[in-house]
């Protein structure tokens, strides 16, 4: 399970302050916020802008440019499924269809019960052991529908 804190501006403020002096601080700040809260709350945008002397539009532009940063809290687990070429050659398309069914959400969505958010990813560097996915930061290779069901059961419970 991911260990995220509900959004709290005071914590965000401290995370921003700790990093504001870094050269090119915006992205390290956004990572720190997302690590803590699971997403980048829109309230953070004016806070970052003020701390770094940037316009809100500039900060907003950065947040939306990068695929990593979420605008809303994810499920209790985040599963990134690789859909790039090497994994395609090992059947990731049908694996993904299976995963979407099992989880009860399509890619880029969260299951209705809040258990899992599925995200597409384009290569995890595990192409020698395709297909690959990352479950809350842990990498898995040679994934199969059966292995996924076992993993899902171990992490989320249920059947």
């Amino acid at each position: 399970m991911q260990n995220h804190t509900p959004w709290q501006p005071e914590i965000a403020k401290a995370l921003i302050a700790e990093r504001r002096a870094l050269p090119g601080a915006v992205i390290p700040i956004l990572h720190a916020l997302q690590d803590r809260f699971g997403y980048v709350d829109k309230e953070a945008v004016p806070m970052i802008a003020e701390a770094l002397n940037l316009t809100r539009a500039e900060v907003h532009g950065v947040v939306t440019f990068y695929h990593d940063f979420r605008g809303a809290p994810p499920g209790r687990h985040v599963v990134k499924v690789c859909r790039a070429e090497s994994c395609q050659s090992m059947g990731c398309d049908s694996l993904i269809a299976h995963i979407e069914k099992k989880v009860g959400a399509s890619l880029k969505h969260t299951a209705g019960d809040g258990s899992v958010t599925l995200e597409p990813v384009y290569c995890l560097g595990n192409c020698a052991l395709s297909p690959a996915l990352m479950w809350n930061g842990d990498l898995y290779g040679k994934m199969t529908p059966q292995k996924f069901d076992r993993l899902h059961k171990a992490k989320v419970g249920g059947s």
């Binding site: 050269p23 990068y66 695929h67 990593d68 050659s89 090992m90 384009y122 020698a128 052991l129 040679k142």
Partner: protein
């Protein structure tokens, strides 16, 4: 004396249970009162054998694999600590043909040493290049790299030494070395292996680059999909700094080099060097116009050398053994070795470092052993998502920059992705366009809109709507992307698309094929 046992900490090895194997070995060791020193090494790159456990015996290192946690008690029963016989025993690691047939220069230590031990690193030739560089004038270092013939391994193949010359000649109060560890190409993992398995080599290469051009600050930009590599580099930087290999007055020699790590944020385009610099500056990763070259006006407007991980990691051995030593490997204008990454539907996927000139057939058949599914090979994509798809009739193509360029393809970062005969190349072409649309930085119209248009046009071709006209349209669209794109994302997406159409036209003609069969 305790026996050294090696269980990789490489992310791929972890992805198939290396952590569980290490835990089981620790448990069994305690239970049996055995004495071992567990080393978490990098991977040797024989991924179909991971988790591959090695034991240091009097007769050298003996390998076992692929090992699962359930096998561990049996391995102890078979006295694997003394290299005992077991059904998973692969014999002496160095004798495994896949390894034995390689020419490992950049990957000479990966999987062999403890990645975080400076002593181990030094005992295997580490920092010898840096020690030599410390005694050389900047110009001498640069000219050694020029002479070695080293070309950028990140994709574009630009001569590394020439880039360094430009940065050396620039005058500024501050210069930077930036290492591109964005490794976004599907089918590639060499950068990741180095960062996880031999991180000091990269630090050494970056420091030498710093001495060469007069840069005292370095940034290593690692993609966020690589949390393991990032964590390992963080540990390695700390160890290197504590040992006096980073920071001010390196090895008491008076030169300084500081290294900062940054995490990417899931944007393929940030592998493009100027987009990466924008990202490091905390901006949207939009590609810059060139000129100015980054070597003249790069990070924060200062002269900057930006190189790929493998390029920088190749520098220490060039300094240590000399330009001539490195140059003697390879062919034509492709000098040295290339770490090739065999991936996808191949039985023995892994890292193959060879001098330039090895053919795709040797790679896929001799090293790879054919497909993982056991079906015939149908297509091979070389050089990542912007690389061409080749049919089996072209497998005698040899891995060198010029041979690939002459065949409308590229070696790129050395990724080779194999597809069996169930592959649908129209689908692959469609994906290439879709990927370009997803990852486009949005700066130029042909890339931003052309790619979305490309997806629609391929859909129409496959649906047999106005086929001839739409095939022509696809060709025109690709020509516009090639001519009108600022960078290679839009500029090279036509490679996978047009190669699929040229070499596999039948896949774009499914309805007709079906009709003919009926």
């Amino acid at each position: 004396m305790s026996v050294r046992v090696f269980v990789p900490i490489d992310a791929s090895a972890l992805s198939v249970g290396a952590e569980e194997v290490a835990a089981a070995i620790t448990r069994e060791t305690a239970r049996r009162g055995a004495k071992i020193a567990l080393v978490r090494n990098g991977s040797r790159g024989l991924f179909w054998l991971e988790p591959m456990v090695e034991v240091e015996t009097k007769a050298g290192r003996i390998a076992y694999g692929p090992v699962s946690a359930d096998d561990v008690a049996g391995l102890f029963d078979a006295d694997f600590l003394a290299g005992g016989k077991h059904k998973l025993c692969l014999g002496p690691t160095e004798e495994i043909p896949y390894l034995k047939r390689q020419e490992r220069l950049t990957f000479a230590r990966c999987g062999i040493i403890d990645p975080l031990s400076i002593e181990d690193y030094r005992a295997h030739g580490g920092f010898a290049g840096l020690e030599k560089a410390l005694a050389m004038a900047p110009k001498e270092i640069v000219e050694t790299v020029v002479e070695s013939g080293l070309r950028g391994r990140g994709g574009a193949g630009f001569p590394t030494g020439i880039k360094w010359r430009t940065a050396l000649a620039a005058t500024a109060d501050q210069k930077y070395i930036v290492c591109n560890a964005d490794e976004g190409d599907s089918g590639t993992y060499a950068d990741r292996m180095i960062m996880e398995g031999d991180p000091f080599m990269l630090i050494e290469g970056m420091a030498i680059a710093g001495f060469a051009v007069g840069a005292t600050e370095g940034y290593l930009y690692i993609r966020s999909e690589y949390p393991h590599a990032f964590a390992q580099m963080e540990r390695a930087v700390k160890v290197a700094r504590d040992a006096g290999y980073l920071g001010s007055n390196i090895r008491g020699n008076g030169r300084s080099f500081e290294l900062h790590l940054r995490l990417g944020a899931g944007a393929y385009i940030c592998g493009e060097e100027t987009s990466l610099l924008e990202s490091l500056e905390g901006k949207r990763g939009e590609v810059r116009f060139k000129p100015p070259l980054p070597a003249i006006e790069g990070l924060f407007g200062k002269p900057t050398v930006i190189n790929n991980v493998v390029s920088l990691a190749s520098v220490p051995i060039i300094l240590d053994k000399g330009a001539g030593f490195y140059r003697d490997f390879g062919m034509g204008r492709s000098r040295g070795t290339l770490p090739i990454q065999l991936a996808g539907n191949v039985k023995r996927a892994g890292l193959v470092e060879k001098a330039f000139g090895v053919t795709l057939r040797e790679l896929i058949e001799d090293f790879g052993g054919g497909t993982a599914t056991g079906r015939p090979v149908r297509a091979v994509q070389v050089g990542g998502p912007l690389g061409a798809y080749f049919p089996t009739s072209m497998l005698d193509l040899s891995m060198d920059y010029e041979a690939f360029a002459a065949n409308n393809g590229m070696v790129g970062h050395g990724g080779v992705v194999v597809f069996d005969d169930t592959a649908d190349l129209a689908k692959q072409a469609r994906f290439a366009m879709e990927f370009c649309a997803i990852e486009s930085c949005g700066k130029c119209t042909p890339c931003r809109l052309g790619s979305t248009r490309g997806v629609e046009v391929i859909d129409r071709i496959v649906a047999d709507e106005d086929r001839a006209a739409n095939i022509e349209l696809l060709g025109d669209l690709c020509a516009t992307m090639t001519d009108g794109s600022l960078c290679a994302l839009g500029g090279l997406t036509p490679y996978p698309v047009m190669s699929a159409l040229t070499h596999f036209p039948e896949d774009f003609d499914r309805p007709r094929k079906r009709a003919a069969a009926e």
